[in-house]
C-alpha cells in the first residue's frame, strides 16, 4: 500500500479538508444536501446545531463504512450505508434526549433531515467505500465544514434580513435602523429565498474561480 508511508497530514490529506470548503463544496459545486440548506436556515442557531450534527454523523459514518468496505456486498451497499447513518443519528438523538434535553429539542426536527441528507450518503458511496479510514475521516470533516459554512452564511443573511436578529438578538433594533423607516423583508424567511441566497453564493464563487464555470 502506497499510503502506508504517507504522513498523517500530507499534502494530499490536507487537500481532503480544504477542497470541500471551496472548489469542491458539497452544496455549491456537488449540489448535495440542498434540502436541509433550505429547511433550517431561517435562524442561525438551528443551522449551527445541524452543522455540528452532520459533522459528527458524516465523519463517524465515513470511517465505519471505510472499515467495512471490503466486507460489504456491493448489491446491498446503499442499504448498509443507510443503516449505518440511521443508527448513528438515532443513537445521537437518544443520548441528547437523555442528557442534553435542550439541545435535543432544538435538534429533534432535523434528525430525519440528517438521515436523508444526500451529502452523507454521497460521501460514503463516493469516498468511504474506496478509501482507508483516516482519509475517510478527513474527507468527512472537510465536507462537513464545507456544508457548515454555506449553511451558516445563508442562515446569517436570512435571519438578519428576514427577522432583523442574530441568534435571536435584535441587532437591527439596537442600532436603530427601524427608526429610519427600515422594515424586515418577510420574503427572506420563506424557503425560496434560501435557494436564491445559495444561488448568489454559487454566482460569486464562479466569478472568483473561472475554472468552475462549465464550458458551453
Amino acid at each position: 500500500m502506497s499510503n502506508k508511508k504517507e504522513a498523517l497530514f500530507s499534502k494530499n490529506n490536507k487537500k481532503l479538508i480544504s477542497d470541500p470548503l471551496n472548489d469542491n463544496n458539497p452544496i455549491t459545486i456537488q449540489v448535495l444536501g440542498i434540502c436541509s440548506a433550505l429547511a433550517i436556515t431561517v435562524q442561525l442557531k438551528p443551522a449551527i446545531v445541524m452543522a455540528i450534527s452532520v459533522l459528527f454523523v458524516l465523519s463517524v459514518a465515513n470511517v465505519l463504512i471505510s472499515l467495512m468496505r471490503h466486507l460489504i456486498p456491493s448489491r446491498i451497499r446503499i442499504i448498509v450505508q443507510l443503516v449505518v447513518i440511521a443508527t448513528l443519528v438515532i443513537l445521537v438523538d437518544q443520548v441528547l434526549k437523555a442528557y442534553v434535553y435542550d439541545v435535543s429539542k432544538e435538534l429533534s426536527v432535523f434528525v430525519g433531515l440528517i438521515i436523508t441528507n444526500c451529502i452523507i450518503m454521497g460521501r460514503l458511496e463516493a469516498f468511504g467505500m474506496a478509501n482507508g479510514p483516516w482519509k475517510s475521516f478527513l474527507d468527512g470533516l472537510g465536507n462537513s465544514f464545507g456544508y457548515a459554512w454555506i449553511l451558516i452564511a445563508v442562515a446569517f443573511f436570512r435571519e438578519l434580513l428576514g427577522s432583523g436578529t442574530l441568534f435571536g438578538y435584535p441587532v437591527l433594533e439596537k442600532i436603530g435602523l427601524y427608526n429610519l423607516g427600515y422594515e424586515n423583508n418577510g420574503m427572506m424567511i420563506l424557503p425560496p429565498m434560501a435557494l436564491i441566497t445559495v444561488g448568489i453564493i454559487i454566482w460569486i464563487q464562479r466569478i472568483k474561480n473561472k475554472d468552475l464555470v462549465e464550458s458551453k
Binding site: 431561517v42 460489504i72 456486498p73 446491498i76 448498509v80 443513537l91 437518544q94 437523555a98 434535553y101
Partner: protein, 260 residues
C-alpha cells in the same frame, strides 16, 4: 471470500440487522429513565411558566407544589372525578369520545390569587402542539399562556414557544358577556381586540392550529366554569333540591298525612 454470493449477502444483512437492533434497543432501555424524567420535569416547568413562575427544569420539581395547590380531573359534565391532573395523558384523552374524556385542571395560588391552569393539545403543521393557559379567578381573563411543539418549522411555526407570541395572550378574555368566544390567532390583530392575538408570518397553519386548540380545549371546560359561577351554582342547587325525589316524596307524605 466472495462478498457478492447470495448466501453471503443474506448473511451479512441478517447479522447487520441483529447488531443494529440490539444496539438501539439497549440504548433505548438504558436511556429511558432519564428521558422520561426530562419530559416530566419539563411539564412541571411549563405549568409553572403559564402562571409566570420562571424556574430551571431541575428546580421545577421542588417549586411545583409551592404554587400548584390542587390537581383535579373533571368529566364532560363539569363534575370532579377521582384522579390527579398530572397523570392524565392528554394525547390519549383526545382520542376518546368527548363525553368520556378526562379533563385535567390545575389550580394554582400565585401572590394569594387563585389561577386555573388548563392544559392544551392540538395539531400544528408537522405534528402535535401543546401548551398551558392560565385563567384568573373570574375564569375569563388570561393570566398567562405558554405553547410548545414537537416539530414545527424553526423560525416560523416554532415561534409559538417564544415570548413574542405568548405574551400578547395575557389580559385577553375568552368570554364576551356570557358568550364563549375563545382567543384566535389572526393576521394583524388590533391591540384592543380582546379575543385575538397576532399570528406568525410564514406560520399560518401552526397559528390556526393554536386557535383551534384553544377553542376546542376550553370548550370542554364550559360545564365546569358554569358550576363554578356563583349565580348558576345557586340555581343548580335549588334544582337539585327540587329534583330530589325522596324529599318531594316525604313532602307529599306529610301533606297527605295532614289531610287525614
Amino acid at each position: 471470500m466472495d462478498v457478492n454470493k447470495n448466501s453471503y449477502t443474506l448473511g451479512f444483512a441478517a447479522i447487520m440487522v441483529i447488531i443494529v437492533a440490539a444496539l438501539l434497543s439497549i440504548a433505548a432501555i438504558v436511556l429511558k429513565e432519564p428521558q422520561e424524567r426530562n419530559v416530566e420535569l419539563e411539564k412541571k416547568q411549563n405549568i409553572l411558566q403559564s402562571v409566570g413562575v420562571e424556574v430551571s427544569r431541575e428546580e421545577s420539581e421542588t417549586v411545583y407544589y409551592n404554587f400548584i395547590k390542587e390537581e383535579l380531573v373533571i368529566d364532560s359534565k363539569g363534575e370532579i372525578n377521582e384522579g390527579i391532573a398530572f397523570d392524565v395523558d392528554l394525547a390519549k384523552e383526545l382520542k376518546k369520545d368527548i363525553s368520556e374524556q378526562n379533563l385535567p385542571l390545575y389550580i394554582a395560588e400565585v401572590d394569594g390569587e387563585t389561577k386555573y391552569i388548563i392544559p392544551l393539545r392540538g395539531k400544528g403543521l408537522w405534528g402535535p402542539i401543546w401548551g398551558f393557559i392560565a385563567l384568573n379567578e373570574d375564569l375569563n381573563t388570561v393570566y398567562g399562556a405558554i405553547f410548545d411543539h414537537k416539530g414545527e418549522t424553526p423560525g416560523l411555526g416554532a415561534e409559538i414557544n417564544t415570548g413574542n407570541f405568548q405574551i400578547p395572550f395575557v389580559g385577553k378574555t375568552i368570554f364576551e358577556g356570557i358568550e364563549f368566544i375563545s382567543i384566535s390567532v389572526i393576521k394583524s390583530a388590533e391591540e384592543d381586540n380582546m379575543h385575538a392575538v397576532n399570528g406568525i408570518s410564514g406560520g399560518t397553519i401552526t397559528s390556526n392550529g393554536v386557535s383551534d386548540m384553544i377553542k376546542e380545549r376550553l370548550e370542554r371546560y364550559l360545564p365546569y366554569f358554569e358550576n363554578q359561577n356563583p349565580e348558576t351554582k345557586i340555581e343548580k342547587e335549588v334544582e337539585i333540591i327540587f329534583s330530589d325525589s325522596t324529599l318531594t316524596d316525604s313532602l307529599t307524605k306529610i301533606q297527605e298525612e295532614s289531610y287525614e
